[in-house]
Amino acid sequence: MSTAGEADRFIEHLFRHQAGRVVARLTRLLGPAHVALAEESVQEAMLRALQTWPYQGVPDNSAGWLFRVAHNAAIDALRRERVFGDKTEALVAEITRSAAVTLSEPDVEEQLRDDELRMIFMCCHPALAREASVALSLKTIGGFSVREIARAFLAEDSAIAQRLVRAKRQIRDQRLTLDMPSGSEMAARLDSVLEVLYFMFNEGYAAEEGEDLIRLDLCLEALRLGRLVASASIATPRVHALVALMALQGARLPARVDDAGELVLLEDQDRGRWDQRLIAMGFAHFDRSMAGQEVSEYHVQAAIAATHARGIDPATVDWPVILSLYDQLVALNTSPVIRLNRAVAVAKVRGPAAALDAIAGLEADPRLRQYHLLMSVRGQLLLDLRRTKEASESFMAALTHTRNEPERRFLRRRIEACDR
């Protein structure tokens, strides 16, 4: 033990990540039906740390301490609750063996990564609804609390808690296992994992609330899990494409909000604030995504993000390339939101009038009728054409369709610009 106070800071998110891997390990030992018991044991270990470390000092190997104490808490619970009947002692012996490992050893690390990977694959089982998969992944492998998940999804704590209870019941009722799927089932499950991770990332990325760090954490967790999948032997080029996309887009997060908490458009961002480590990571995975012939939606999205990242400043961004990538993307995914993003590229290459034509069809789409970004983009195009009165009306319409404060301030500044 170090004396009290020597270490008063830990590795960032140490507890969260440690919680995730120990829950994965204990769930593997206890069986997926007992994931709640695994979570309680980990919670107990963290509570024990909170109760003792401030007085006795932080143990030299705090991660190992949490790992061991959580195992012991599981053993105590097994003996107390007797849910396993006469299998109890055999299970206790197995948990005791698991508790004795040395965390830093490479084969132990490998084992724990494998536990986490199996856990992700189970959480993303098609029997579970996507929202349930995301919440369950964040809670079990991500080490997020119910409150944090609720905040990230702008939901009530009780709604998330219920979602998790239901998901765990489904795991039990449908007897989901931690076995990795094989054959064609593997490809389908991998797709489902990628979809869940992409959804998790977008939830964090899409809401432009800079002051709420939990959303950044959501993006980074999706990226961490993506990298975990990418490091496994089952990874396909598509996995690397998604990781590249998340890393390259995630790199821009620090620049999306300025010091005053105001929203900054991609064009106006201080590129010095882009995370160079993530950009490098993104390009490395982008290269690996090129193996094989497949061009997935993730590939094209990653290519767009990479093209932005290659520009030294907004003037050097290769917009014709971005536009052609959007053309490819529209062929793969007919989502009106993608067509709206394409219109922004059209404006850069062919001017605002052509872009207005490009979004004309979208305005009739019922899915976008309430979509403030469509109105906002339209306003900007009209402003560029000096049709200020119509531009102002468009921004005002956007204003009535968003409750996000930084975004509202941004729109008000645009409306003022129309009056000038």
């Binding site: 507890f15 963290m46 509570l47 740390a49 909170l50 007085y55």
Partner: protein, 112 residues
């Protein structure tokens, strides 16, 4: 310099609501306070409810805890140095324990 004892009572129901990240932040705050130079000693008490000795009909007898109706339990204590009571109280007020639903009792060590 006088010595004071800070008795920390825990409210476990408040802690049960914390997730891993909150726990880590809490420990970091607690540790930052603990390493302040005025801390002389700190001890955590055992997890159990303890025993209490009382005379029962003139005969000393041990009984198991808990002894009070409150949900709070004495979790541990610090001994700190301070010029006077006000300073000791000011230091206790900075302790994160109270933010997490706990209670701190400040007592001067007699004659220190």
């Amino acid at each position: 310099m006088s010595k004071f004892m800070l008795l920390l009572y825990d409210d476990p129901s408040e802690w049960a609501k914390l997730g891993p990240e909150d726990m880590q932040k809490a420990i970091e705050k607690y540790m930052a306070w603990s390493k302040k130079p005025f801390t002389v000693d700190s001890q955590r008490l055992g997890q159990d409810a303890g025993r209490v000795i009382r005379a029962n009909g003139g005969k000393p007898r041990a009984t198991d805890g808990p002894y009070s109706e409150t949900k709070e339990v004495l979790g541990g204590f610090y001994t700190i140095e301070a010029a006077n009571y006000d300073e000791a109280v000011a230091r206790a007020l900075e302790h994160p324990h109270v933010q997490y639903g706990g209670t701190i009792e400040v007592r001067q060590l007699y004659g220190s």
